[in-house]
């Protein structure tokens, strides 16, 4: 439970908020001409690298959320580990069920996976446009559009990752 939450906090704070979003803003400045740098090189060395590090962990985070956060886990540690077998036959399942009724955990995971897929799509779209046709002036608007889409989806993912708090844990 604690480790899952640490991973969530690290992905949200260190990777999405502090690396992916600033890297996208920098790319927008490069494409709009206010910062001079090689857009393809910067895109690959920042956004592509950060996403390669983030995406597998995000997938694990959303897939394992229900199992890792379930209050059922309290029955495998002190003090509820001492519950008699007759109680363990019904209470852990009931507690899990009530928890799912109170919190839309499955909805949170589904929305998170969709947002991550949206970021993935935006990154691959922006990357392809940059590599194939960045030097053509008429393509710059398309690249900018793709980067703005990436900025929007990354912000959405960052907000989503911060939606789980202590109230979700019980």
């Amino acid at each position: 439970m604690g480790e899952w939450n640490e991973l969530r906090a690290r992905l949200s704070h260190d990777l999405v908020k502090n690396r992916l979003i600033p890297a996208t803003s920098r790319m927008i400045k490069i494409v709009t001409g206010s910062v001079v740098a090689d857009p393809v090189e910067i895109f690959d060395s920042t956004i592509t690298v950060v996403w390669a590090e983030t995406n597998p962990s995000l997938k694990f985070l959303f897939e394992s959320c229900e199992t890792e956060l379930s209050p059922r886990n309290y029955f495998s540690v002190e003090p509820l580990i001492h519950c008699p077998p007759s109680t363990l036959e019904w209470l852990p399942d009931l507690i899990h069920e009530l928890w799912l009724e109170r919190h839309d955990v499955r909805g949170w995971c589904k929305a998170g996976s969709e947002l991550a897929a949206g970021v993935e799509l935006a990154i691959s779209g922006a990357g392809n446009l940059l590599r194939e046709s960045y030097n053509a002036d008429e393509q710059k608007a398309l690249v900018l559009d793709a980067l703005l889409r990436l900025q929007g989806t990354s912000s959405g993912l960052s907000t989503h990752l911060s939606l789980i708090d202590n109230r979700f844990l019980i």
Binding site: M1, G2, E6, A9, R10, H13, D14, N18, P71, Y74, V77, E78, P79, L80, I81, H82, C83, P84, S86, T87, W90, L91, L94, I95, L98, N166, R167, L169, I170
Partner: protein, 255 residues
């Protein structure tokens, strides 16, 4: 300037910087200087901010510097570096907590393991204890380290267990057709005490009180006393107490 000394807060996250400044100035009574990336400000209240002149800055020797990890690059700025280095102690913090020192930190710097997102990341008592420790003299060249005073908060195991048992009791009473055996079982003292007293021994009330942190509500105290079979607790009206205790536990655990 107060007699307690000066606390320098370096943090570019505006809301958190404001909260920490209010805490160290208004609640704890220190002379607070802060830096978010542009000017050094003396914080007296949200309406009373005063830019510190370079002359004044050169004479400041803070008691401590609370330094946000994400702003470490500001240490390259010569003025920031001078002020940080002249602080009696440097304490690094982060919004997600810190497991250890980062490369490039001097060995004398401390770090806070717990995530610091604002005033609420520690109790007033813990902040005061931190202030008291910062006020102690350093013994020559002190080695930095993890500040265990603000270690990662442990989840309240017994409060959570008690909350889960309350849920089980109430569900069994509400849905007797689904849990026919549990209706009577959950009304017995053994059902509650076997897991809790087996782990806590005779200290159940003390442990629950400690996890609660402040004064424990009447309903929770009554329930715990009944579970622990404290003399005089026999008359407890279980259904009423459990419903009330569950509500109290729910809001406490969510904090």
């Amino acid at each position: 300037m107060t007699e307690k000394g000066q606390i320098l807060i370096i943090d570019s996250t505006g809301n958190r910087r404001k909260e920490l400044c209010e805490l160290w100035s208004g609640v704890l009574g220190y002379d607070v200087l802060c830096y978010g990336g542009s000017d050094f400000i003396r914080f007296q209240s949200n309406d009373k901010l005063k830019t510190i002149s370079p002359d004044e800055l050169s004479n400041i020797r803070p008691l401590a510097c609370l330094f946000h990890v994400g702003d470490h690059s500001k240490y390259k700025n010569s003025t920031v570096k001078k002020l940080v280095d002249s602080s009696r102690r440097v304490v690094m913090f982060s919004g997600v907590g810190l497991a250890g020192p980062k490369p490039g930190w001097p060995s004398s710097w401390f770090w806070i393991p717990r995530a610091i997102t604002g005033k609420g990341s520690a109790s007033d008592r813990e902040w005061r204890q931190l202030g008291d420790w910062l006020a102690t003299q350093t013994s020559g060249s002190e080695d930095g380290g993890s500040l265990e005073l603000l270690s990662v908060r442990k989840r309240p195991q017994f409060l959570t267990a008690l909350y889960i048992l309350c849920q089980g009791f109430l569900a069994a009473q509400r849905m007797p057709e689904r849990f026919p055996v549990a209706v009577a079982e959950t009304r017995t003292r053994d059902w509650w005490s076997v897991p809790l007293v087996k782990s806590a021994g005779e200290n159940l009330l003390n442990i629950v009180t400690q996890e609660w942190g402040t004064e424990i509500p009447d309903s929770v105290a009554k329930l715990v006393n009944w579970i622990a079979n404290t003399p005089g607790s026999d008359q407890t009206e279980l259904a009423e107490i459990v419903a009330e205790a569950k509500k109290e536990l729910e809001s406490r655990i969510a904090k």
